[in-house]
């Protein structure tokens, strides 16, 4: 007889979020500095440096083209790091999950709390990067601010996917497969660095499988001041993916930890 899976309570899940937040604020200056420096170099190297050799594309500079992608590029990397290496450490090395589930919280809420926390960290990173991009004068529309809630949704999805991977991990090295086989293709094929039309057709189809592609398309449009109905399609797709990835993460973790 296996104990069934219950729907996590947000109130209890937030207590796990609070725990992670409490650890984060102990070391926040270093983290925030890193979040700040990273996009600055991205924009300098890819935009000012490399971009100088590139022709104008679609009536905008290369720097303007990549700016919206940069807003969530490093944010998603942060989310994935948090919910692979970070969560693995809490689960396997520190046994924090096991300690928490002897309190009124259940494992469903621990995993939901981890997903919410990962997404929140991504949200913070993207907000900081947004300021940098603004500082470079690359935001052309107030609508660009809508990228931030989208990053939160994308963060929930990437956090859930990362936790699915973590649920299979036996060592830190296992996580390398995730970065090689999933994260790298998902990131580099998402159209952050050049338009998808430059790919051969078959690769374009693959690119559309990346959970980051919908966000790149919407973000780039928003920065041009476009707000359109077609955007609801990719958002709905992300919502569906997020729901199923979260459910699978919880199911997998339950199988791993509750025996």
């Amino acid at each position: 007889m296996k104990a069934g899976i219950v729907f996590p309570s947000l109130r209890f899940a937030m207590r796990v979020w609070e725990r992670n937040f409490r650890v984060f604020i102990k070391y926040w200056p270093g983290a925030v500095l890193a979040y700040f420096i990273d996009p600055v170099f991205y924009l300098l190297i890819f935009g000012v440096g490399l971009g100088g050799y590139l022709n104008q594309m679609q009536n905008e500079s290369y720097l303007e083209f990549i700016a919206p992608g940069i807003v969530f590029g490093s944010a998603m990397l942060t989310v994935c790091m948090e919910c692979t290496y970070g969560s693995f450490t809490r689960m396997e090395i520190q046994k924090t999950f096991q300690a928490i589930i002897t309190t009124p919280l259940n494992l469903e809420e621990v995993i939901a709390g981890e997903i919410l926390w990962g997404a929140s960290k991504g949200f913070l990173v993207s907000a900081i990067v947004m300021l940098v991009v603004l500082g470079f004068g690359l935001l052309h529309s107030a609508l660009a601010v809508l990228i931030i809630p989208l990053v939160l949704l994308e963060g929930l999805l990437m956090a859930a996917i990362s936790l699915i991977v973590t649920s299979y991990a036996s060592t830190y090295e296992y996580v390398n497969y995730f970065y090689a086989l999933f994260y790298a293709p998902a990131f580099y094929l998402s159209g952050i660095f050049f338009p998808l039309e430059r790919f051969p057709v078959w690769l374009q189809y693959v690119a559309y499988l990346s959970p980051m592609t919908p966000l790149v398309l919407i973000a780039r449009a928003l920065n041009k001041g476009v707000l359109a109905w077609w955007m609801l399609g990719p958002v709905a797709w992300l919502l569906v993916l997020t729901f199923f990835a979260s459910a699978l993460a919880i199911y997998r973790m339950k199988r791993r930890l509750v025996k």
Partner: protein, 335 residues
């Protein structure tokens, strides 16, 4: 709770027709802190808990005693909801653990076998954050944490990082953590494993003082001395079953007597000692090179007269009882 109560009342009525005594026992059952009936747990094909029944009364310290692999930790994990019940029934505070885990866990304190303190947080923060999991208000969490750090003698370590603590300090901090929600039942899985004798005695002292305040406790151990010092009742386990239950001191007195001679006979007299003991009907068992001999009070047996290499006279312990019951030591694995 209500259902449980009603069932017990029905049983009561049924029993009352036969005997008032049985009825009284069933009524007492309602107030049991933990009650398990025919509990079974399988991991795939391996049955690690094989149909055990026990109950723990309020204020009692109940110990599960047995070698590694006997199923002690699995039982403990089922009681705090960390492991789903295989089959049989398990109620805590009169509530079914499978359907009421959250309510039960709110009233439990758990001291796990692993030192799963939060390495990312300081000593005091460990308690404050843990208190939040129970929804304890911030000011109350702080005052309770400080009082508990005082109780476990860690008040000077508030800001220390966890890796800087000694093994004994970590165990005491985990004990303090388990007491934050002022639990009605404290569950301790091998509380003193890996501690040096001094640290172990300090921990026992804390547990005894909790016991004197009326805290109900369940613990697992493979240290005889721990069980004898702390437990009102023990369940001796081997290979997933309870082989004997009762007060540890009474059990030893009834089953093995009060004293024990450990003897290694002189080199060529090994078989001779065994037949001599059998002839005089002195109970004994042999383990390795050593004979463990348990003469009845006033027995004729004079061990010092028998040629020997080593002789030790001591009081009989639970370890002797366990050896007698299972033919092996408590520190050996049952697999």
């Amino acid at each position: 709770m209500l259902l449980h109560h009603r069932r017990s009342v029905v049983e009561c009525r049924r029993h009352r027709q036969n005997s008032t005594f049985t009825a009284r026992i069933v009524i007492l059952n309602i107030a049991m802190i933990v009650s398990a009936e025919n509990l079974v747990k399988k991991f795939d094909a391996l049955e690690v808990v094989r149909g055990i029944s026990f109950s723990v009364a309020p204020g009692e310290c109940f110990g599960f005693l047995g070698p590694n692999g006997a199923g002690k930790t699995t039982i403990i994990r089922m009681i705090h909801g960390g492991s789903p019940v295989g089959s049989g029934s398990l109620t805590v505070f009169g509530l079914d653990i499978t359907s009421h885990a959250r309510q039960i866990k709110a009233r439990l304190g758990v001291v796990p076998q692993d030192n799963n303190l939060d390495d990312d947080l300081s000593v005091l923060e460990n308690l404050l954050v843990y208190a939040r999991y129970f929804g304890i208000a911030k000011d109350q969490a702080l005052s309770r944490s400080l009082a508990l750090l005082n109780f476990v003698q860690l008040e000077s370590k508030n800001d220390n990082r966890i890796p800087t603590l000694s093994g004994g300090m970590k165990r005491r901090l985990i004990l303090a953590r388990g007491l934050l929600n002022q639990p009605e039942l404290l569950i301790l899985d091998e509380p003193s494993t890996g501690l040096d004798p001094q640290a172990r005695r300090l921990l026992w002292q804390k547990l005894r003082s909790l016991k004197s305040q009326g805290t109900t406790m369940i613990l697992t151990t493979h240290y005889m001395e721990e069980a004898e010092q702390l437990c009102d009742r023990v369940a001796i386990m081997d290979a997933g079953k309870i082989i004997l239950q009762g007060n540890p001191i009474d059990l030893v007195r009834e089953r093995v007597g009060t004293e024990c001679y450990e003897m290694e006979p002189a080199a060529n007299l090994d078989g001779d000692l065994g037949s001599r003991l059998r002839a005089q009907s002195v109970p004994f068992h042999k383990f390795g090179e050593t004979y463990y001999i348990f003469p009845a009070p006033g027995a004729e047996w004079k061990p010092s007269e028998f040629p020997h290499r080593r002789l030790l006279h001591r009081r009989a312990t639970l370890e002797d009882l366990f050896l007698q019951l299972t033919g092996k030591g408590l520190t050996e694995s049952s697999e």
